[in-house]
Every structure is written in structure tokens, then in C-alpha cells.
């Protein structure tokens, strides 16, 4: 592999508050050096990245790659292609595949498929319970040995508090977080959107904020009881934010993520029965969005995760009640967050990069999220002046279900390196 010199970019390494214009030399798959006027080894590939931002590759701790089981809507190859196009160099794959990723062989399959694709790093998440049925613990030890970095029954809540307790306790041996999809099913079942004035007008069954908050509260109490690490997936309500804030003040091992769409859209997006606004947890109210943004800024919520959830193009072409939950997000996450949060004044650019790289890496104890010499060269180059209009037809994902279609956004990854290899290069740039 030829050495690569990224010359003249604004280099932001949130892992050590580094933010200055300099060069980055990549050699042998690693970051060899940072600094102005680095010597050029023989055969170096010099890239002029003046005016661009050089950052650690983005890390997404919550994606659904649908393989095995639903390869018609996404594969590990297509999902990681979408990931690198979105600037992500590492993604954590949720286990609600078919069959469920609940054993070492299934985890190993994902690792092998990801290696074969050779794009983003894929860190599998194993199921908490066998078959995600909420009954018996899966073999955490064997799954972690095969490459799993966390456990989760995502897509479903862990209904049994006893199971959640034992998962948090048992996971301590292996040092992995237990990621929970917080939803109290007896309150949420049948609901298709946030319960509020909009659901009342549309005549759609609502999911009250309390359905999430009850489980957030429970999980925090169990984290306190067990000393385990609970990771709270896709937080959506201001009440959840307050519970997490208190838990962190107590020093409990609680981390949390929020999606770009919960940071930018409200339940009004469901008007007209737009099924691309149907997700679980549902889009909430403006006050929730404001609380989530503030929590992300303060670090109460650790990181942004896309909850990339591909669905067939015609599955969303249905009555609202009948459409599946979820949207794709890998290829819009950075631009949505940059446009709405950074240009909107809620976060600085280094803060956003931290919440999308070093913070998620830290939450899941993953490599990456830093530009320190000697680290693997997982790097993204961002053009934060590029304006583009979201056209799902151009997605690398096999699915098109995005509520941001037609939106003009600012900010775009133009070069993505994983282990020093160029895995994505935007078309039509001057690189």
C-alpha cells in the first residue's frame, strides 16, 4: 500500500482536543505522523485537502445490516459501502438478523462477511437472549471471543427485569455493555407514533413518552444494583434525558445514544401519514428535540448513532399502521447533524465529531476515534462547504427509506480511509 499524505487540512482529533491545520501521513495502515511539512516518503500519494476537515473515521454503535436473513434490503457489503460513503469507518451490527445473532458461529459469520467486503470495520453485537425471545441468556463469553463488542436485544425491549439484571451482571465478566431498546411493551404495543396532539389529530395510536422513560428508569436502577454498564439506545424524550443526567451525576455506568432524526425531526413529520417518519422510538415533540440537543452538547447523551434500518422500497408504501418502523441513516447522518446542529448553533464542529467518533468508540471500548500517531488509519475527510440534495436513488444502501429525501444539506465525506486504505472517494471532487 502506498503511503498517503493528507496535506493542508483542518485536522480535528477530539480524543485530545486537537484542532489545527496540518498534514497527516499514513503509512503501513497506520497514522505515521501529524505535523506541518512532513517529509514525503518515496511513492507517496499526496492529497491536497486544504479547506477540508480531517477527522477520525466516524463510529456508529447502532446499525442494522440485515444479513443474514434480509439480504434483499441490505447486506453486510452494501451496508458497509453505505457506511464508508457516510464517513463511518466502524459500525456495530445489531443482532436482530434472521437467524438471530445469538451464538459464536453467527458472530463469526458477520466478522467474515465484513472482512470479505473489506470496507468499514464491523463489530457485531450479540443477542442478550437466545432468539431474542427474552428468556435465556445467550453465550456472551463465546460471542465476545468471536468478536462481539456488546449485547442487545434491540428491536425488542428486555421485558423481564430479571433477565436485564442477569445480563448486566454476566456481561461484567466480559467487559461489554448491555444495550437496551427501552420500551415498556404494555404501554407501547400497537402504537405507531408519538402520543400527543398530532397522533390525536391523525387518529393514530400513540406511544407515550413514559413507555421509554419507565424502562430507562428501570435500567438505571439495575445498573446501580449490578454495577453493570447499560447503554441506552436511541433516546427520544426529555424525561429520559433527565433520568440519564441524574444517573451520571451518581456515577453510574450508563451511556446513551441519540439518532440524527430524533435530534432534528418532530412528530409533525408524520403529518400526511408519511411512513418515512415512522420509527421506533417515535419522533417526539420540539421540547424533546431541544432537550436531546442540550444533552448531547453536555455529554449527558454520549453519542450519535444512526439506527440505520433498511426496509424494502414497497414496505413503506403502505398505510401508516401497516408500514414497518425505521429509516436508513448511514449516508445522511453526518450531513443532517452538521447542517442542523453545527450550522444551527447547537454544537461546534469538534463537538459533533467527538459525538460521532471518539465518544461512541469510548462508550463501546472500540479502537478508533482518534488520530494519534501509531493508531490505525481510520480517517474521514469532510467537505463542510459541500451542499447537496438527498436523493435516495443515489444511496449505496440497498434501501431508500429516508425522511430526508429532497432535503438540501451541507457537509459531505469526500474521502474515507480504513486501515490506511481508501474505501470511499466522492465523485466530482478535486481530490
Amino acid at each position: 500500500m502506498r503511503p498517503l499524505l493528507l496535506q493542508g487540512g483542518r485536522v480535528i482529533d477530539p480524543s485530545r482536543d486537537f484542532d489545527r491545520t496540518t498534514d497527516v501521513l499514513v503509512q503501513d495502515g497506520k497514522i505515521a505522523a501529524l505535523g506541518a511539512g512532513l517529509g514525503s516518503p518515496d511513492g507517496v500519494d499526496v492529497r491536497d485537502v486544504r479547506g477540508k476537515v480531517v477527522a477520525p473515521g466516524l463510529v456508529d454503535v447502532h446499525v442494522h445490516l440485515r444479513e443474514p436473513g434480509n439480504e434483499d434490503v441490505e447486506t453486510i457489503a452494501s451496508g458497509t459501502r453505505a457506511a464508508v460513503a457516510g464517513g463511518f469507518t466502524a459500525v456495530c451490527a445489531m443482532p436482530n438478523t434472521d437467524p438471530v445473532t445469538d451464538n459464536q458461529a453467527a458472530v463469526g459469520f458477520i466478522v467474515r462477511q465484513a472482512a470479505r467486503a473489506g470496507l468499514a470495520r464491523v463489530f457485531p453485537i450479540g443477542a442478550i437472549s437466545v432468539g431474542q425471545r427474552g428468556e435465556h441468556l445467550s453465550e456472551f463469553g463465546e460471542m465476545v471471543a468471536a468478536g462481539a463488542v456488546a449485547v442487545s436485544d434491540d428491536g425488542k425491549p428486555v421485558v423481564s427485569s430479571h433477565l436485564m439484571r442477569t445480563a448486566l451482571e454476566y456481561a461484567r465478566t466480559f467487559g461489554v455493555p448491555v444495550a437496551d431498546h427501552c420500551e415498556e411493551p404494555t404501554l407501547a404495543t400497537g402504537g405507531v407514533m408519538h402520543e400527543g396532539l398530532v397522533s390525536t389529530r391523525l387518529g393514530l395510536k400513540g406511544i407515550p413518552a413514559a413507555a421509554e422513560e419507565i424502562m430507562v428508569g428501570r435500567d438505571i436502577l439495575l445498573a446501580e444494583l449490578t454495577g453493570g454498564h447499560v447503554h441506552l439506545c436511541h433516546m427520544s424524550t426529555r424525561g429520559s434525558v433527565e433520568l440519564i443526567r441524574r444517573a451520571k451525576e451518581q456515577g453510574l455506568r450508563v451511556t446513551a445514544e441519540v439518532t440524527p432524526h430524533h435530534l432534528t425531526l418532530t412528530d409533525h413529520a408524520c403529518e400526511g401519514y408519511d411512513t418515512h417518519a415512522k420509527m421506533n422510538p417515535p419522533l417526539r415533540e420540539a421540547a424533546d428535540v431541544a432537550a436531546l440537543r442540550a444533552a448531547l452538547k453536555q455529554g449527558v447523551i454520549d453519542c450519535i448513532a444512526s439506527d440505520h434500518a433498511p426496509h424494502a422500497y414497497d414496505a413503506k408504501e403502505a398505510a401508516f399502521d401497516d408500514a414497518p418502523f425505521g429509516i436508513v441513516g448511514l449516508e445522511t447522518a453526518f450531513a443532517v447533524a452538521y447542517t442542523e446542529l453545527v450550522l444551527g448553533g447547537a454544537l461546534t464542529l469538534p463537538e459533533l465529531i467527538a459525538r460521532m467518533s471518539s465518544a461512541p468508540a469510548a462508550a463501546f471500548r472500540l479502537p478508533g476515534g482518534a488520530l494519534t500517531p501509531g493508531a490505525p488509519a481510520d480517517i474521514v475527510v469532510l467537505d463542510i462547504t459541500a451542499r447537496w440534495t438527498v436523493d435516495p436513488a443515489n444511496f449505496h444502501s440497498k434501501s431508500r427509506n429516508s425522511p430526508f429525501a429532497g432535503r438540501t444539506l451541507t457537509g459531505r465525506p469526500v474521502l474515507t480511509l480504513v486501515g490506511g486504505a481508501v474505501v470511499h472517494e466522492a465523485d466530482g471532487t478535486t481530490l
Binding site: 402520543e195 400527543g196 396532539l197 397522533s199 390525536t200 389529530r201 391523525l202 387518529g203 393514530l204 395510536k205 400513540g206 407515550p208 400526511g272 401519514y273 414497497d314 414496505a315 408504501e317 403502505a318 398505510a319 401508516f320 399502521d321 401497516d322 408500514a323
Partner: protein
Amino acid sequence: MTALLGKDLVGLEHLSPDQIRLILDTAEPFKEVSERPIKKVPALRGKTIVNLFFEASTRTRISFEFAEKRLSADTVNVAASGSSVQKGETLVDTAKNLEAMRIDMVVIRHPSSGAAQFLGNRIRSNVVNAGDGQHEHPTQALLDLLTIRDRYGKIAGLKVCLVGDILHSRVARSNIWGLLKLGAEVGVCGPDTLMPRGIEQLGVCRFRRIEEAIEWADVLNVLRLQLERMERGFIPSLREYYRVFGVTVERLDRAPRELTIMHPGPMNRGVEIDSRVADGSHSVILAQVTNGVAVRMAVLYLLAGGRPELAEAANRAAAPPPE
């Protein structure tokens, strides 16, 4: 020509007061058609209408069918039970198939909120919502409005209270929009378990006790209580519901003024309404049913491009000979 009402009638939320008045005014001359020995006018001759019912219905379907036939339209009824079809997929495919058959109008009832709009957005034919999930049932609200206007000569300033299961009721939502747009005061009464979140923000008064609603209102529109609401735990028993919320003669006797009692049907006698009330002098429940045909004729006529000032003339034209 579809300018007066737009292409579809999906609900009353997005209609203007003038559009609602236009439908009610257009219904007036059509009332008379149903009183003739030969109940037919040629207004929609040559038009094809599909009645697409994904959910069981007797009175609404028959009312639409009479309205269509009395306007001389050609009609086809399609009933698809929710259990035998994959609802979402069928709806897309149904839309495409209907389009391919070049029909003029679709009257749709569907268990999913938004289904009528979904269909309307995908086909060129006019779509009339005959009830979608818990969203709207606009023709029911229009016939309720017409019945109130017949009784009082006006709607503005009247106090109309919807009683019962507001949470699951498309009739309630359509009535709230229609009544508010025409200047009525609107109340809702029922247990909190059957009240949707944020309902007060629509501009309605909230009553937790039926006695208070009766004291306040000029008109009570008593909604049907689905028996499954008890099975799903929204209320403890029908017996208690009747005792706490039932519209009874004893309660009406204490009202400060003569109330008008409405019910969209089908009634559960002895649950939400006392039989003596349903059959008594306060009740306009059968007048509602009669007005239903006229209102639906008006909606179909206007969506087909009929001009309201010609509705009377259309009526005066000789009825076609029996076929």
C-alpha cells in the same frame, strides 16, 4: 372540474367553512329526491363508482350505495375482510388495479387511519373517505351537521357534546372539525381512558361527568361504545359504563333545556344510551340516517364536478325510465 371541494373528500379538518356549507346546501335539494316515487336523477349517469370496504359496514355502505344509485351512477361493491388480505400491500395493488380499470370514484372504508389519503394520493379518481381507522368519517359528520341545522336552523352558537369513546372515534374527530368550523361550541365527555391526548388543544371543552355535559349542552351526540373496549381494559364493565356515562331519561329530565339526542349507530341499547332516549322525542337518530343519503349524494355530485346551483336543476330534469 374539481375546484369546489378538491379531488378527494378525506376529512373535514382541511375543508373551509364555506366548503362545508356548500356540501350542506347542495344536500338540501337532494333530500327531496328520496321522497319521490321514482328516486333517481341523472346527475352521475355514466360514472363508475367502486365502494371499497375493507371493514364491515352496513349502514354507511348502503347509504353510499343508495346515494350513488339515486344519482344514476354505475356501482361495484368490493368487500375485503381485514383477515383475508395483507392490508398494506393490498391497498397499493388495489389502487393500481382500480386506476387500470378507469373508474371515476372510489368510496373507501379501511381500518387504518390515513388509508383514504393514501389511496387518493395514488390514483386520479376521486376518493371519498367512508371512515379510515380512528381518523375521520367526514360524511357522518356532514350528515350530523345537516341534522342539527334542520333542527335548529343554524349551527353557530349551539353547544354540541360528543359523549363516549372519543379516543377511538373517527366520527368524533370529524364532528369536532365540522362543528368548530361552523361556529358551534363543542364538548367531549367520557372517561379519561377513552379520551385522546391533547384533545382540549383542538378547542373543545372537556367533561368528566355526563351530568355536567347534559347541563351544558344543546345537543348530545352519543357515540357507540365498542364492546372490545371493555375486553381491552379501557372500562371495567358495560354495566358500570351505563351507570356512570349512560344517557338516560332520568339524567335528561334534569337538563335545564330540551336536548337533542344523536347517535351515529349502530346503538348499544342499555350501554351508552337508554332505549327510551333512543326512541323518545329528543331523538333525531333516524333523521340522521335519512340525511345521510342526501349528504352523500351532495358529496359525490360535487366531487364529480357538479355545480351546486345546478343541483336543483338536475333534480327537476325528468327521472330516467326504469331500466
